[in-house]
């Protein structure tokens, strides 16, 4: 491959469609004769429904009011997609009178207009027998449990004797932290339009994973997956909330079947606070022991995350701790607290974002105790290999990230003492932290089709929630085929396309990119065969070994002639398009040979106003080693988004629950605080020029998650540097900083 497009800062191929409104999102695929459904959410946090007054049925325009009293029993066949908790059973909606959490869908109103559906939903009277829900992991009645063994992650790991090493350590820190529940709150709310044609169901539905949505809805309704089509060409932000298929999709399909019309169902902003997953609140203990010269001798990481009563949501809370630093004695332990709440789900940087907060703030604390610069402390504990598996890293550029980051950020100007830097009345602090996220790659497939005009069509059931999948995949296809990007059309977001893995876990570039590359190579092989069979082709009767592709032309190896173009080869055979569909999975041997992760070093400068206790990020820099950067412009943009998410996690985001009934008290954008434009300072992104020959043929690791991980601890460390006050709770609130 002769890279022409890969590595170039192309602007978004879909940018014009997005800014002109031509891009269609799920709720915009309006269908003829479409009706509207509105979910009625429970107003208690636990208990049962005792009655539903049917009077609202007679309001104008109402087509149906569906509840457990009249809903058909749905098959709910077993199905666990790659993003569903492996232990427990998904919520069965409108199948019984039980209320398991506040906001659970308890009825569905379908009407001929949205306004009429909303009016009837507001008028619907439901009575309950309410019990007191347990919604906080610190509640005395909340009981931690060990996750079931069939969970996807190894929960408990140990090497050496960390307890003894901690007890005898020359210097130790032992801290506990509490990170708030967060909701994803993307710009685009969840929405589904469902339309039945006989036994066939079409869903225009916001999804990061259309292949799974197809299988899940087929299982819920007891249908063959091929009778369900899911279409989602554009996603208006998701951050993980559209990975699983949540109950509203089932409800839209159910409503459409009940009323015999296409039905649109969009969640309200409020409903997005309780039915579509959240980052679980986590409680953690992090104990570190070290020698006086700063060698780690013990790490103990105990993490507890919330989950629901009906499923065990597991995230990689302690995974980074296992391998991040060189240390002979390490114990990680992970527990769950089942609560009367909906099941949490993956949210950008799941596990690592929270777990690395604990590790990196503890390490910062240790640096102060030792009187060693935080970067130097990390350098002294930089491992040669992954000590949890004894495998080498496929590549690890962490120290290079710290080097270029510190240089650009001006870390040398930092005076180490807390409260030693000021700007007028403001206290200034600088903090740093390590970021990491595994380089995953699930099996993916793609189709490449060469047309008679020499252009290529590429299809994969992938998703683009914002990172630029449309653009980067086009770059991969163009370079693999040796043609300009303008001659490639890439389509995604349709379950009729070859299946792709979840658009999450920072693996889309690795997984789908590899599949597209393989599909393009496969179609080239087919074209070689076709040319070889053509007596008038210069490649007639020649084997693949004697031929090569140069700039989209097939020619004899070393030959002077320019060879045959795609258009000529396809045209010579009557213009019938040539296509290949290929699935690609990572060689399992690679996983056994290497420890594969992206790494980053994050630097933050904060100001703290001592009079009012407000901390603001003044500037931040992330330096990342994430393999090959396919599109520097979009990669930078993706990292900026992740860093902004980290600012939200550190200083603002918090879904606050009323302990009496589990009601989110800030279920709207006025009071669920996210950073707004004025909160976003000067952000900078650097990439280490990292070549990883092992991780996948493209050499890519992914950036979506690693760019959020590390931000919150860097901010907390900067706040400590500014104020001398260590805050072990996220978000850091004004109250924490009063009187500094």
């Amino acid at each position: 491959m002769n890279p022409q497009a890969i590595g170039k800062p192309l602007t978004r191929i879909d940018g014009r469609a997005k800014v002109t409104g031509a891009a269609r999102y799920a709720a915009e695929f309006n269908q003829p004769n479409q009706a509207y459904a509105v979910i009625v959410s429970s107003t208690i946090g636990l208990g049962r429904i005792t009655g539903i007054d049917p009077a609202a049925e007679h309001l104008p325009g109402v087509l149906a009011i569906i509840s457990h009293l009249n809903a058909p029993r749905l098959p709910y066949n077993p199905h666990k997609g790659g993003i569903d908790p492996s232990y427990g059973e998904r919520l069965h909606v409108l199948q019984d009178d039980q209320v398991r959490f506040y906001g659970q869908p308890v009825a569905l109103v379908v009407a001929d207009t949205l306004v009429r559906a909303e009016r009837a939903a507001a008028a619907l009277r439901i009575t309950y027998d309410a019990q007191h829900p347990i919604v906080g992991p610190r509640d005395k009645q909340a009981k931690p449990i060990a996750p079931e063994a069939d969970g996807r992650l190894e929960a408990d790991n140990v090497r050496g004797d960390p307890e003894a090493a901690l007890a005898s350590a020359a210097v130790a820190v032992d801290i506990t932290s509490d990170i708030a529940r967060q909701n994803h709150h993307p710009m685009e709310p969840h929405a589904t339009i469902a339309a039945w044609d006989g036994d066939r169901l079409t869903l225009w539905s916001k999804s990061q994973f259309v292949a799974n949505e197809q299988e899940e809805i087929a299982a819920v309704f007891g249908m063959a997956p091929e009778n369900v089509q899911v279409i989602c060409p554009f996603v208006g932000g998701a951050f993980g909330t559209s990975l699983r298929t949540w109950p509203h999709v089932t409800l839209a399909a159910l409503a459409a079947r009940q009323v015999g019309r296409p039905v649109k169902l969009a969640l309200t902003r409020r409903q997005m606070s309780f039915t579509t997953g959240h980052r679980p609140r986590t409680l953690q203990r992090m104990a570190l022991g070290a020698t006086r010269d700063g060698r780690l001798t013990s790490i103990i990481h105990e993490g507890t995350g919330e989950t629901s009563r009906y499923e065990q949501f597991i995230e990689s809370l302690t995974s980074g701790t296992d391998f991040m630093y060189s240390c002979p004695n390490v114990r990680t332990r992970y527990r769950l607290v089942p609560l009367d709440t909906g099941t949490p789900t993956y949210m950008r940087g799941p596990g690592e974002a929270s777990g690395m907060y604990a590790l990196e703030t503890a390490l910062d604390e240790l640096a102060y105790k030792l009187g060693i610069d935080p970067i130097e402390l990390r350098r002294r504990n930089e491992p040669r290999i992954d000590e949890s598996t004894n495998r080498p890293f496929s590549s690890r550029s962490l120290m290079a990230c710290y080097d270029i980051g510190a240089e650009r950020f001006g870390w040398a100007k930092r005076t180490p003492e807390p409260q030693s830097m000021r700007d007028g009345r403001l206290l200034i602090g600088m903090g740093t932290a390590t970021a990491t996220y595994p380089a995953m790659q699930f099996p993916a497939s793609a189709r490449a089709r060469l047309l008679a005009d020499g252009t290529a069509e590429i299809e994969s059931a992938a998703s683009d929630m914002g990172p630029g999948t449309y653009t980067s995949m086009t770059q991969v296809a163009a370079d693999t085929l040796g043609i300009p990007v303008g001659r490639v059309r890439f389509s995604l977001g349709n379950s009729d396309f070859p299946p792709a893995p979840p658009h999450g876990g920072s693996q889309t570039m690795a997984a789908v990119g590899s599949a597209i590359r393989a599909a393009c190579l496969a179609v080239q092989d087919l074209l070689v065969e076709r040319a070889a069979a053509n007596p008038r082709s210069p490649a007639h009767n020649m084997g693949k070994e004697a031929l090569e592709w140069v700039d989209g032309h097939l020619r004899r190896k070393g030959g002077a002639a320019s060879g045959q173009s795609y258009a000529e080869i396809v045209g010579a055979a009557g213009g019938v398009p040539v296509e290949a569909t290929v699935s690609v999975a990572r060689d399992p041997e690679i996983d056994n040979k290497y420890s594969m992760h992206a790494f980053g070093a994050v630097f933050v400068e904060v100001s703290v106003d001592p009079d009012v206790g407000i901390a603001r990020v003044r500037r931040a820099l992330g330096a990342y080693g994430a393999g090959r950067i396919v599109n520097p412009r979009l990669a930078r943009s993706q990292c900026l988004g992740g860093m902004i998410g980290g600012i939200g996690m550190a200083l603002m985001e918090h879904t606050s629950l009323d302990a009496r009934d589990g009601r989110p008290v800030n279920a709207h954008m006025a009071e669920y605080l996210l950073p707004v434009n004025l909160d976003i300072p000067d952000l900078d992104v650097l990439f280490v020029d990292e070549v990883d020959p092992h991780v996948n043929p493209l050499g890519v690791k992914g950036l979506g998650e690693v760019s959020l991980v590390g931000m919150a601890p860097a901010i907390a460390n900067a706040v400590f540097h500014a104020t001398g006050r260590r805050i072990h709770e996220l978000p850091i609130r004004i109250e924490h900083l009063l009187g500094v």
Binding site: A122, N666, E671, L673, V676, L678, D679, E735
Partner: protein
Amino acid sequence: MRYEKPTTVEAATALLAGQGARVLAGGTDLLVQMRSRVLSPDVLVDIKGIDATRKITKDASGYTIGAAVTGAELKEHPTLSKDWPGLVEAANLIGSTQVQGRCSLGGNLCNGSPAADSVPGMIAAGAVATIAGPKGTRTLPVEDIMLAPRKLALTAGEFIVSFKIPARPAHGGDAYLRFIPRTEMDIAVVGCGVALALDAGGTCTAARVSLGAVAARPLLVEDGAKALIGTKVDDAALAKLEAAVRAACKPIDDKRGTVEFRIDVAGTLAKRTAKIALERARKV
């Protein structure tokens, strides 16, 4: 639900005297509350058809600002921002640019939130509301209008037509500051308005200090004004102001801030606000 847009004060008061009637000005609070079903009025009385609610007039005694004049219009007025910058800045903190095209002083006050940004600004400026009702017109200082959250000193059929803002004193200045956790687009955790006047020698001859979001209603802090009057607004006076303001606070704990924090920040904010008002008074 009925929508009415009367063009006279009399027609409006007649409509508002009926059951379930609500005044519609910019609608930036009312429509949101109707959408979330907090309020379900039977009659919406849009007062924007009444000329007096939509204009700003200026004479020797000061300004008369229509209750439905928008935040954007306040900002664009040729002299209002020069005379009462604190009041205009307070009103311009309501919502986003889009909301500024609709929101109004009358609506911000009558929504009945203790955290309304423009209300401490109006109180500090000495604004007096002109209220029309079935029995005719009366006036009431702005600090006497809101009694408690969502509770106003208006009776059935009454609505605010306009606000009278006095002429700025020769050496007068005002300011408004609020504290919010993020940098824009947020609801005040504490708000503070200060207006003061100086004599030729720089001694404070008159002052008004007001607070928002630290009690069940916006407050006029008389002791805060007393701390400033007769002084050069020096550090000693500002320390007394800080103490007086903290003493006046009766906040609650809520998800935006704790009691301790609000009391603490209110004092700090009052000092900062007074300093800005002082600078402005010295410059004119």
